[in-house]
């Protein structure tokens, strides 16, 4: 199920790219819990909608809503990009 060769950090994705969340790595437990509660659970499909005018934060679309995260927080989220519209 997991293909480590294909993982990237959410913070490195370009605008408009869709990806599947694989894991949240690092950060204290409360930090991870927060992101999980907001729906950033492994398996979730996520899209990078746009970045702010100064390049940070980034706006994500997931589970039918829009969430802005700073890049340093998004860095903890490992994703598998879906390049060939497999979703």
């Amino acid at each position: 199920m997991r293909n480590p060769c294909n993982t990237e950090r959410l913070s490195d994705l370009e605008e408009g790219v869709k990806a599947r969340i694989i894991a949240i790595k690092g950060g204290p437990p409360t930090y991870r819990q927060r992101l999980l509660d907001l729906g950033l659970t492994p398996g979730t499909i996520i899209k990078v909608n746009r970045e702010a005018p100064l390049g940070d934060p980034i706006e994500l679309e997931l589970k039918g809503y829009f969430l802005a995260l700073r890049r340093k927080d998004a860095w903890h989220i490992l994703v598998e990009p879906l390049r060939n519209n497999s979703e």
């Binding site: 437990p29 927060r34 995260l69």
Partner: protein, 714 residues
């Protein structure tokens, strides 16, 4: 309050719970019809809202809890909401669910189900969901969750009667619904089942539902709960080992963290329910939010629009309340602020018969009470207009975009994007504003640390009350460089505020790092009714403060300035200048002169500055009194200006240093009181007082000495 007595004391509590921004408040407002009490939970900035409604002749009490994303608490709001939900006297939970954001909202619903307490769902904003092409079969959803559901449109008052009737039936016990058990998949369910049986052997008093909930919390590694249970049982270390083993077994089996497993399964349950109950009717009206955001968050156009909207906001606020004279008065036209000032002037005049025989009583009434409180209250039109437009802007969803656009910039200084609004309200555009609503605006910041840092730098902005001081001194010494001086002051205030923020950010001890999360809601057209309600709520709080604490402090300040110490009470006691010189403030002013002389201030100036702590408006008036100038009533500022410019003690550098000092030093009493109320501690306002004054002194010292070295304006 009369109506609180009517609600019977043994009645179980009804609480409204939901995600932030799910429309909870509008449902609460519609249910209670405005019959509500707003206070703060002790020690925190979180508002406590309690309301009442009548049903079949009975009064039912209902509380609107702060919004929360989940029961894993982390902001002040969430901690309070969670604590309240857990209290045993909560008889019914009303869970407001936003249909536009069903999946994440139902995640909280699942956690309420886990609690095993009776609850009902208000499925909100179904009208917009339908417009977007989503049909929600709420009856089916109700069967799946085994929870009654009412469809509502909070801001239009739709479904409210039905909701009231359901609440009534629930608490009167006609139909006691208990939610179904949440299923987490076969393996996890078995673990939960077995462990909760084990837990009930250890804690026989705990009923079945609660044991289940405890189990799930323990599997999520809730350390507080673990400690609590360990204190209640005989073999705590063995119990902890058992918990640890259960978690490990589950994690090994699922090859995932236990917290991830639980969150994932909850969301799994939600998406299962959604698959069954929600249908999408194909290409409905396309969501325009994304298209608007393409423009508003654009790299080039975005910041320009932002600047435009903010300028327009302030243009409208200041023009309509201060500059445009559009209110008819018997023999002239007045602006709303002038109308309020006139009102207090008339009150003050009505006491003038006291002036001759009881000069001190007259002075207390006119200078202490009406002068001080009037100065605060005359800002009401400004505050109301500001809050009105900002509430409307918040409702549209644009404020979240401001935070999104500016977050990167503000982060350089350890502030959040949301802090910008608070700074602008406080006078950040250099043309007035007020720190009190600015402090109140820090409520939108989630983290306490962010709130406190923002509150500490807000007073550096040039609020409206500092402008008369600038006007006076610029008029006297910088006639030909008005714009340049104002611009320098404006830039300096931002510079000091941002630099202080980054210093404070390094000094204040960081708690556990939490991710910055900002939800970007779809754009809405603001609803006048809710904007007005919101605006009035905030304005009323301001008025209440002016009428209580600010009044008291102003009387004290008046006594400090205008009453000579008994030792010095002579037959000259009608001479105001003499009185001030030998008042406590006067003595104090002389006492600190050895320090303040380094920045060019003598005791006379010190008195005015001490008075300025009550309200910055006082400074010009006090300066006038201590310099004992013949000031004609009609043209106070100009003649004082002219007088100062000819006074031998005064020169441009001194005036410039004074302006900088006034800009930066101690926040006014109203601001300090507000900071105290908002942080729930006296330490922060006391720190703010010393912090601002120290910064002001240091900056003034630098400016004054560099000015002297370069012989600028000496």
């Amino acid at each position: 309050m009369a109506y609180s007595r009517r609600a019977s004391s043994q009645q179980l509590r009804v609480v409204i719970v939901g995600n932030p921004n799910c429309g909870k408040s509008s449902i609460f407002n519609e249910i209670t019809g405005g019959l509500q009490e707003v206070s703060n939970y002790p020690g925190v900035t979180v508002e406590k809202k309690v309301g009442y409604f009548q049903y079949e002749g009975q009064t039912i009490r209902i509380e609107d809890l702060p919004g929360l994303y989940s029961f894993t608490t982390y902001t002040d709001e969430e901690i309070i909401a969670f604590k309240e939900v857990l209290k045993p006297d909560v008889g019914l939970i009303v869970n407001v669910v936003d249909s536009l954001n069903l999946e994440r909202n139902l995640y909280l619903t699942i956690q309420i189900m886990e609690l095993g307490k009776p609850f009902i769902i208000a499925l909100n904003m179904t009208d917009i969901a339908q417009k977007r092409g989503f049909i929600i079969d709420h009856e089916k959803l109700s069967r799946i969750l085994n929870v009654p559901i009412v469809k509502t449109v909070g801001n239009k008052g739709i479904g409210i009667e039905e909701l009231k009737s359901l609440i009534f039936k629930q608490i009167k016990g006609e139909k006691a619904w208990l939610p179904k058990h949440v299923t987490y998949g076969h393996e996890v369910d078995t673990v939960v089942e077995e462990f909760s049986e084990f837990l009930r052997i250890k804690l026989p008093d705990v009923e079945k539902e609660k044991a289940r909930w405890y189990t799930i919390k323990l599997l999520e590694r809730d350390s507080k709960l673990l400690e609590k249970i360990k204190n209640q049982i005989s073999e705590p270390s063995e119990f902890e080992k058992k918990v640890e083993n259960t978690i490990k077994e589950m994690e090994q089996h699922e090859n995932e963290d236990s917290t991830v497993i639980i969150a994932q399964r909850r969301y799994g349950f939600v998406s299962g329910a959604i698959r069954e109950c929600v249908s999408y009717t194909g290409e409905a009206k396309q969501n325009i939010t994304d298209q608007i955001d393409n423009i508003i968050c654009n790299r080039v156009v975005g910041p320009i629009i932002l600047l435009g909207i903010i300028s327009l906001l302030f243009y409208i606020v200041f023009k309509t309340t201060q500059e445009w004279k559009w209110i008819p008065f018997p023999d002239e036209w007045l602006s709303p602020v002038e109308l309020f000032e006139k009102f207090f002037e008339i009150i003050a005049l009505s006491f003038s018969f006291l002036e001759k025989d009881y000069p001190s009583i007259h002075s207390l009434l006119s200078d202490g009470i009406i002068g001080g409180v009037g100065a605060v209250l005359s800002f009401i039109p400004l505050i109301f207009a500001l809050f009105f437009l900002i509430s409307a802007l918040e409702d549209t969803g644009y404020v979240a975009r401001i935070a999104f656009i500016l977050d990167r910039l503000m982060r350089i200084f350890g502030l959040q994007g949301r802090a910008i609004l608070a700074l602008l309200i406080s006078g950040g555009i250099g043309a007035g504003g007020c720190a009190v609503p600015g402090i109140l605006a820090t409520r939108t910041l989630q983290e306490r640390k962010d709130k406190i840092i923002t509150m500490l730098v807000i007073p550096f902005m040039s609020c409206g009350a500092k402008l008369p001081v600038y006007a006076l001194l610029i008029g006297a010494f910088f006639q030909h460089h008005r714009t340049l001086v104002m611009l320098t002051l404006w830039a300096l205030s931002w510079f000091i505020a941002l630099i202080s923020a980054s210093i404070l950010n390094r000094l204040v001890i960081r708690g556990e790092p939490t991710p910055f999360v900002l939800e970007l809601h779809p754009y809405h057209v603001p609803v006048l009714r809710s904007v007005l309600r919101h605006t009035w709520g905030r304005t009323w709080m301001y008025i209440r403060k002016a009428g209580t604490l600010i009044l008291a402090v102003n009387i004290i300040m008046w006594a400090l300035i205008y009453i000579p110490l008994p030792l010095y009470q002579t037959n000259q006691s009608n001479n105001e200048q003499h009185n001030i010189e030998y008042s406590i403030a006067g003595i104090l002013g002389k006492m600190i002169e050895p320090v303040t002389k380094h920045i060019g201030f003598d005791w006379k100036l010190n008195i005015a500055l001490i008075g300025g702590i009550a309200a910055k408006e006082v400074i010009v008036g006090t300066l006038g009194t201590v310099y004992h100038m013949e000031i004609s009533e009609s043209n106070e500022q100009d003649s004082l200006s002219a007088n100062l410019s000819q006074h031998k003690e005064w020169y441009p550098l001194r005036a410039f240093t004074l302006m900088i000092f006034v800009m930066l030093y101690a926040p006014c009493v109203a601001t300090l009181v507000t900071i105290g109320r908002e942080t729930g501690t006296i330490r922060i306002p006391v720190f703010s007082l010393f912090f601002s004054t120290t910064i002001a002194f240091l900056v003034s010292l630098i400016v004054f000495h560099i000015g002297h070295l370069l012989s600028l304006g000496t």
